[in-house]
Point group: C2
Chain length 255, copies 2
Amino acid sequence: MKYITSLINTEIKSIVKLHNAKERRETNKCIFQGIRTIETALESGLKLDKIYITQDNLKNTINLFNKFNLSEKLIRIVSDHIINKISTLKTNPGLVAIFYNKKFDINKLNEGLVLAQIMDPGNMGTLIRTAASCNIKSIAIVEGTDPWSTKVIQASAGTIALVNIFELSWSELLEIKEKNKLKLYALVPQNGYSIDSIKKDNALLVVGNEGNGLPNQWIEDCDRPITLKMPGNTESLNAAVAGSIALYLTFCKNI
Amino acid sequence: MKYITSLINTEIKSIVKLHNAKERRETNKCIFQGIRTIETALESGLKLDKIYITQDNLKNTINLFNKFNLSEKLIRIVSDHIINKISTLKTNPGLVAIFYNKKFDINKLNEGLVLAQIMDPGNMGTLIRTAASCNIKSIAIVEGTDPWSTKVIQASAGTIALVNIFELSWSELLEIKEKNKLKLYALVPQNGYSIDSIKKDNALLVVGNEGNGLPNQWIEDCDRPITLKMPGNTESLNAAVAGSIALYLTFCKNI
């Protein structure tokens, strides 16, 4: 185990750079924070780069290191100052880990979820967490926020490591849909078909932007618009909630 | 219409005080921000105290004033500086309104939702929004965050005005349960009964704290623990999502 005490250590500086999307894209690395989130990533088999931990937290996490047989070479003991510098959370998470995110061949996209132009990292992470709970493997990300940002990873409670994230354009999605014989179901706030009409085999549920929904052309490109029936006299549900209910009804209702 | 230009005007100062829970409790007033949220509150019949608007926004909202036949006496024209001071949002919402929140006799509590020790205002607001979409009228708040805080109101998209909020203790809830012949269903992450076993008449769905769930004694006090079946190998759903799916399956599935 190596000790790092300086805030201007080059390794520490390189992690701070990962707070930016451009650096994450170039290095293929991302930041997981807190023991439960990191444990989920380790369980999924995501490749660990390094783990940073305070001396105080070392006792509490020794079981984690043993469970996953982590090499001491990957562990860095650091001060609270350093954790606060590399962490993006308001409260010190005690440990921070850098992982390599997995890249998936977009041709392998299968039934699951499409997040189209989702801008709020909390919503994206929440929808990924619900999808993981529904045992969905394929999640297509079309535009919107970066799925490997710290906010998305934390809102997913680390479950982003359990699913396959495919980043692609809408036109690429339409090509894969033809090739893999997938059906696209656009979740729309009104005038769509009943969710009971979705057959889950080969189904991709498409959830659009929080404020504006899906572009009209994209809805037309889908096989069918779907609307959750709601008896209340309100305009719509929160995007993450609407998508989560639709995911549950499509992929979990008969278990 | 009255113009206010000074940041130290006593009326402006009294609104800033409403950012604190204590002041909200003592005055029975609360803050709604942005046109859609305020429109929802006006439609619900919530009693307006005053509305604060910038000169620039006056044109866009004249329809709102006409629609609800608002007295000019309730309207204040203010600067962006003042909106920023009385608003709690990061971006200027253009208009801010003060409403009187309704108090409901806890003996009138009926089928619906119990939010027990929910600490995150975003989760509480989201669950209230889902409940309103399910046409649920009774929402019991037991401990946790203040339902009339600006964060809860905004996360509910103003739909908190469409439901009846009952603030009471757990022991009061148990008394009302007996008196009104209600059934309490505790949402728990594992080992509960199927959600299909809930009969919605007289049902109160109980959602607990995000991190710790419900206290064991409270689960025992309920008629039945309920668990959402999930095929994925993840620890649990986000609290607002789990509660929202359970609400939908209980109160909306047969519409």
